[in-house]
Symmetry: C2
Subunit: 397 residues, 2 copies
C-alpha cells in the first residue's frame, strides 16, 4: 500500500511537471486578454502609457487602433520589429508573410533569439507576439508571395483578411529585402487600390528609407526606380558574388521605428504623415519629399488608379496643400555658444551615383539606369525601354 501511494505520488508529480514544462515551453501568456483599453494609471495596465496620448492631446481616439488590420510582408530585421511595435501598440489584427527560417546569422538584428533558430520566421514571430499581447489577432503565411499561386493567395488575403473577414486590410507594409518582392506588392496594391508603405535598408547597413504609396495619387514602384538615401558608398563594393549584405540593429530599428510611427500617424490621424523619409546614418541626415505618379507608368492598374484619383479629386472639395519653404538655418554664433554641425554636401552625394533624375538633396535612385540618349530633358515618357527591360536590367546588376 505504501509503495502504491509512492507510485501514485510520483505519477502525479510527472503529470504536474509535464504540464508545467508544456506551459513554460509555450511561453504561456502571463496576462489575460483585455476587453476594453483603459487609461487607468496602474502598474498592471499595459495600455496606460498609450491611452495617455489622448490626455496629452496627441491622439484623439487611441482605442481606434483596435479596429485596424495591418499586413507585414517580410519578417526580417525591419519587419519583425515593425510587427512587435504594432503588437505592443495594440493593433487589431496583424497578417505576417515570410517564407524564411530563423538563423543564428539573424542575431545581429533585434527580435529573434538563438533558441528560435530553425523555426519559420512567421511561426517564431507569432509565438513571441501572442505572448507579448494576447489581444492582437494574428494570421501568418509561411510562403514566398512572388510565385504565381502564392501571389493570388496574397492578393486574396490583403483584400479579404481584415478584422471583419471579407474586408480589406487597412495598410500593407513592405519590409522585404529584394526588388522582386517589392514589385509583387506594388502590382497587388495597384490592382486593389490598396494604400501601402515601403521600407528599405541599404546593403551596407548605413542608410534606409520609408515611403507611403497611395495608388493613383503618388508615384508607384513602376512609375520610377526606387529611391534611396545616398549613402556615399561605391556601389561596386556591394555587388560582388558570394558576399552577404551588412546589417545593423540600429539602422533597422530606426527604419522600423519611423515606419510604424508613420503608420500610427496615418491610422490615428496625428502629426504629418511622411510620403518619403530617408535616413543616412553616416551623416544623420533625414530627407523628406513626395513624388507624383507617372501618367505613362507601365503598370496599367497604376494608370487606372490615376484616372480614378483624378475623378475623385474633381468631385470632392479639395483641401489646400501648401508647399512651405524651409526657413534658412541660422548659423551665427550666439551667447550660448551653439554651432550647427556640418552635414553631408551635395557634391559628396552626387559623387556616389550615376546619371540620375533631378532629385532633392540627399536622395538618389536605388539603381542607375543606363542612358541611351542625351539626358537633357529626358523623362520617363521619353524612354524607349519598357519596364520589363528595365526590370531585367536591374535584376542583372
Amino acid at each position: 500500500m505504501a509503495t502504491d501511494s509512492v507510485v501514485e505520488g510520483l505519477r502525479a508529480r510527472v503529470r504536474e511537471l509535464e504540464e508545467e514544462l508544456n506551459r513554460v515551453r509555450r511561453h504561456e501568456t502571463h496576462r489575460a486578454k483585455i476587453g476594453k483599453m483603459s487609461a487607468e494609471v496602474v502598474d498592471s495596465n499595459p495600455y496606460s502609457r498609450l491611452m495617455a496620448l489622448k490626455r496629452m492631446g496627441i491622439v484623439q481616439d487611441y482605442e481606434k487602433i483596435r479596429t485596424y488590420t495591418v499586413a507585414v510582408v517580410g519578417v526580417g530585421g525591419v519587419g519583425s520589429v515593425t510587427a512587435e511595435m504594432l503588437t505592443r501598440c495594440g493593433i487589431g489584427k496583424l497578417l505576417l508573410f515570410d517564407y524564411d527560417k530563423v538563423e543564428l546569422a539573424n542575431m545581429n538584428r533585434l527580435f529573434f533569439q538563438p533558441h528560435q533558430a530553425g523555426l519559420s520566421k512567421v511561426e517564431a514571430a507569432e509565438h513571441t507576439l501572442r505572448n507579448i499581447n494576447p489581444d492582437v489577432q494574428f494570421e501568418v503565411h509561411n510562403y514566398n508571395i512572388t510565385t504565381i499561386d502564392n501571389f493570388q493567395h496574397f492578393m486574396d488575403r490583403i483584400s479579404k483578411g481584415g478584422l471583419q473577414e471579407g474586408e480589406p486590410v487597412d495598410l500593407v507594409l513592405s519590409c522585404v529585402d529584394n526588388f522582386e518582392a517589392r514589385m509583387a506588392i506594388n502590382t497587388a496594391c495597384n490592382e486593389l487600390g490598396q494604400i501601402w508603405m515601403e521600407s528599405g535598408v541599404s546593403e551596407n547597413a548605413v542608410s534606409g528609407h520609408i515611403q507611403l504609396i497611395k495608388p493613383g495619387e503618388t508615384a508607384c514602384f513602376a512609375c520610377a526606380p526606387p529611391l534611396v538615401v545616398a549613402a556615399n558608398i561605391d556601389e561596386k563594393t556591394l555587388k560582388r558574388e558570394g558576399v552577404c549584405a551588412a546589417s545593423l540593429p540600429t539602422t533597422m530599428g530606426v527604419v522600423a521605428g519611423i515606419l510604424v510611427q508613420n503608420v500610427l500617424k496615418y491610422l490615428l490621424h496625428f502629426g504629418t504623415v511622411s510620403y518619403y523619409l530617408g535616413y543616412n546614418a553616416m551623416q544623420d541626415f533625414f530627407p523628406t519629399m513626395s513624388m507624383k505618379p507617372n501618367p505613362s507608368c507601365d503598370d496599367k492598374y497604376c494608370r487606372q488608379q490615376q484616372e480614378a484619383y483624378k475623378l475623385r479629386e474633381a468631385s470632392e472639395p479639395k483641401p489646400e496643400v501648401v508647399a512651405v519653404e524651409e526657413s534658412p538655418v541660422v548659423h551665427e554664433d550666439n551667447e550660448w555658444g551653439i554651432e550647427l554641425v556640418s552635414e553631408i554636401s551635395e557634391e559628396e552625394l552626387k559623387d556616389a551615383s550615376g546619371p540620375v533624375p533631378e532629385l532633392p538633396e540627399g536622395i538618389t535612385v536605388a539603381y542607375t539606369i543606363p542612358i541611351t540618349k542625351p539626358t537633357s530633358g529626358a523623362t520617363v515618357e521619353d524612354t524607349d525601354q519598357s519596364l520589363e527591360d528595365l526590370m531585367a536590367q536591374m535584376k542583372k546588376m
Copy 2:
C-alpha cells in the same frame, strides 16, 4: 521488484523533467560562446552581417567592438533596447544600472515581456541579453544612483568596471527618465572626465533627442538647461498631478537606434558622430547642433575640465573644424514630379516655449527659466540665480 523498477523509472523521469524545466526556464543558451569573430558567410555565424561592414568599407576594424565597455544607466524604454542593440553588436562588456521592476505598464515599449513582470529590470534584462549573446560580459546593479552611497559605488564602477578590472568604462549612456538622475550622471562624468551620451524622450511621447557630452569640450548639463526638440505641445498638459507620461515603442526605438548608432560611430570610427540629434515625430524633423561649455558653469569639475581641455588643445596639433553652410534646398518642380513636403515652421516652434536663449531652429529648452531682469543681452553669466536655485525651481515644475 516490478514495483521497485516502476518507482525507479518514475523517479528518473521526475529528475529528467525537473532538469528540462530548469533549462527551459533559464532559457538556456542555444549557442556556444564564440572565441573570435568571423566574417564567414554561413547561417550559423551570428557575426557575419556585422563583419560584412568591414568588406563594405564602412568600418575598418569591426572586431574592436569586443574590447569596449559601455555603462547603460536606466533600463527602461530606451535603455533596454540600447542594451539589446549593443549586445547583438557584440560589445565587450555592459554595465546596467536600474532600481525599477518590470510592470505590465511597460509592455507598450520593446524588450520586456509579460512573464517578466515583477522581476527587477536589470535581472530580467541580463537574463534575456545573456541568452541572445553569451559572448558579452554583464555587470548589473539594482539600485538608484542618486542616493549618496549608491552614487559613490556608481562612480567607482564607471571608473574601474571596464573589461580589464580597474580600467574605466569607454562610454556612459544616460537612458534615465528624470532630471535628478541626469544631473547625477553629469556630476560623476565631470569629476571623472568621462565621455558620455545622454538620451531623452518627451512626456508626450512624440519627440526625443541624443547628445554627446565631452567634459570640458562641450556644454555639460549644468552649463545650460537640457535642450529638447520643440514638440509644439502645451507644456501645461504635461504637468498635472497623478498623470502618467505617454510613451510609444516607435519614438523610444528610434531614440535607442540613433543613440547606439552614435555609439558605434564613436567607438568604431565611421561616419560623423553627432553632438546633438533631435527627433520630432510629429513633423519628422531631425535637428543637429553642438554647444560649447559655459566658462562660468556652476560645476567646478566642469570648469576644471574646460581648463584641462584648453591645455590639451594648445599642446596638440588641432585638426581644422570647418562649419559647413547647409545648401539651400531646391524646391522647383522637376520632370519627376518631386515636391518637398512641408516641415514645421519656426513660428510654430517658438509658440511652444517660453523665453529661451537663441537656439537653432527646432530646438528649445526642456524647462523655461523665469527671467528676473531684461532678457536683452542676458547670458548665463549675468544670471543672479545659482544652479541650485535653478534646479530647485525645475524640480518644482
